[in-house]
């Protein structure tokens, strides 16, 4: 298995405040890896640092190429799609325009058209609402749209920041099912940050646990899920 993303000694800062303290982890091609941890542990910051949305030092390599000092918009062109916390929906635009924006860096217009149809097949509700303003969708539908928008890039790696946030449990199950399918069938590697550790561990193959800006635990997702001590002290269930 080849390493797709390799993060080494990552330190990130908000002004004077240091949020990540030398964090290292890696993600294999084709894997679905989850970053777990409590509020304020640095999960979101890690994703933001990968896309250079926060000041950071350390090494970030994607497919062997360094991402440091690349602008956020050029990192997208490596094939990294980031679904930010809060989903980042273009609320005043239509559902279809949101999907087109996901593919804005692509040049193959025929491929974009067929990919939009593919997204409607994945998420039928988006087809029903394709002319509607995205801001009028429900939370679950907006999360589907955000995932679909990210997939429109035909990414090699998808970064997902708390996809379950604010969604009803049934909707979350649905969404995670789709994520697993995308990972297996479309061969998209996924790095997902979650507070819902139980669900994320069911889905993922690899897991890392972050506490106050450091990795405190890593391993096979099943092993971590089965380790009662870790579950009690870090994951709270």
């Amino acid at each position: 298995m080849t390493t797709l993303l390799n993060v080494k000694d990552l330190r990130a800062y908000y002004g004077q405040v240091q949020a990540l303290h030398g964090l290292s982890f890696s993600l294999n091609e084709g894997s679905l890896t989850t970053l777990l941890g409590a509020n304020g542990a640095g999960k979101t910051t890690t994703l933001r640092a990968i896309c250079n949305m926060v000041r950071s030092t350390g090494g970030i390599e994607f497919d062997g190429k360094p991402l440091n000092n690349k602008s956020t918009e050029s990192i997208v062109r490596f094939g990294i799609a980031h679904v930010p916390q809060g989903r980042g929906t273009f609320t005043t635009m239509t559902v279809e325009e949101n999907l087109q924006l996901g593919a804005i860096t692509r040049k193959d217009s025929a491929g974009i058209v067929s990919d939009i149809e593919r997204m409607y097949a994945h998420f039928p509700v988006l087809k029903q609402r394709h002319t509607q303003q995205a801001g009028t969708l429900s939370g679950g539908e907006q999360q589907m749209l955000a995932v679909a928008r990210a997939l429109m890039l035909r990414p090699r790696l998808m970064l997902l920041d708390e996809p379950s946030f604010g969604l009803a449990p049934l909707v979350v199950r649905d969404l995670f099912g789709i994520l697993g399918k995308i990972n297996r069938e479309d061969k998209v590697s996924i790095l997902v940050v979650e507070q819902n550790a139980q669900l994320a561990l069911e889905l993922a193959d690899q897991a890392y646990v972050i506490e106050t800006g450091r990795i405190v635990m890593s391993g096979n997702a099943k092993d971590i899920a089965n380790n009662e001590e870790i579950r009690k002290s870090y994951l709270g269930y």
Binding site: H82, P84, E97, L101, I104, R149
Partner: protein, 292 residues
């Protein structure tokens, strides 16, 4: 009745110019959240460029096109040199930047072309339009050019990928960057387009107000009134606002005793204030809701 129709049509004609100015102001406001006080001066300078070209023997439409291109590039240059470095600066720093730009352009124009009033040609002539006494060919031309411009812009923003990217960059900059849009250049492009739109307004109104460095002062205030009336967050509102202000100004000048020509400008200011009091987001603007 003929007086009324006449005033309405004349109002629509000047309203077209206000609509262009309001649109230029709104485009920049959408991109950087600041009002460009120098929009009028930029338009005035562009108009002088076209006048100078014509003095050198260039035909009207050639000068028109060259001026558009010049304005587009100049707008981008102003953004890159002056306002990109100010992007994260406080509001007042930006306001100072705009006032500086205003003064610099105004004085430069005075220095190069002096402050005497100049005639500016119209390519449409000033005969009665289609033999009717209601509206002149130049006024009809003003409306025609503006309508073409608006249709072109609508098509650009609605049906082209770059238009879509510009809208995305203005509405949710962070998400726009995450799908790979270079938002910084989208802002520069917005400046270029806004400046070109302003130059069209300047060239169309110059035959009416005559060419001189202070020609756009009043026009820009009407443009602001139009933008506020329609809503600063809505380009469509700005355009509608422009036409409404144009018509309103003319009808008030004609029918409200004592207003006449002298008090037309205060009417625009009164309009700005009334709109801000009654409907702060404007007719078509969206109320910005913030979570607390």
């Amino acid at each position: 009745m003929e007086l009324f129709t006449n005033q309405v049509l004349a109002g629509i004609a000047t309203g077209a110019i206000y609509a262009c100015m309001a649109l230029a102001v709104v485009m920049i406001y959408q991109a950087i959240d600041h009002l460009n006080f120098a929009q009028g001066e930029m338009a005035m300078f562009s108009t002088f460029i076209s006048w100078q070209l014509m003095q050198w023997g260039v035909s009207y439409w050639a000068a028109f096109v060259i001026t558009l291109a010049f304005s587009f590039v100049a707008g981008i240059a102003i953004e890159r040199i002056l306002f990109k470095p100010l992007a994260k600066a406080p509001v007042l720093t930006n306001v100072a930047g705009f006032i500086a730009l205003f003064a610099i352009i105004n004085s430069s124009a005075g220095l190069i072309w002096d402050f005497t009033i100049k005639q500016y040609p119209t390519p449409f002539g000033s005969a009665p339009f289609l033999g009717s006494q209601l509206i002149s060919t130049h006024q009809a031309g003003m409306i025609g050019v503006t309508v073409l411009l608006l249709l072109g812009l609508y098509f650009f923003f609605q049906y082209t990928r770059i238009g879509l990217a510009m809208r995305a960059a203005a509405s949710v900059p962070e998400s726009a960057r995450l799908v790979g849009i270079n938002t910084s250049w989208m802002i520069a492009l917005g400046w270029g387009m806004a400046t070109a739109i302003g130059s069209i307004a300047g060239m169309l109104i110059a035959p009416v107000v005559f060419l001189e460095p202070n020609m756009m002062g009043g026009v820009l205030i009407y443009g602001f009134a139009a933008a506020v009336l329609g809503g600063l967050s809505s380009p469509f509102g700005a355009v509608v606002g422009g036409f409404l202000v144009g018509v309103f100004e003319n009808l008030a000048g004609t029918y409200i005793p004592g207003v006449g020509n002298e008090l037309k400008l205060p009417i625009a200011l009164a309009l700005i204030i009334s709109v801000l009091v009654v409907k702060p987001a404007g007719l078509f603007g969206r109320q910005i809701v913030k979570r607390v």
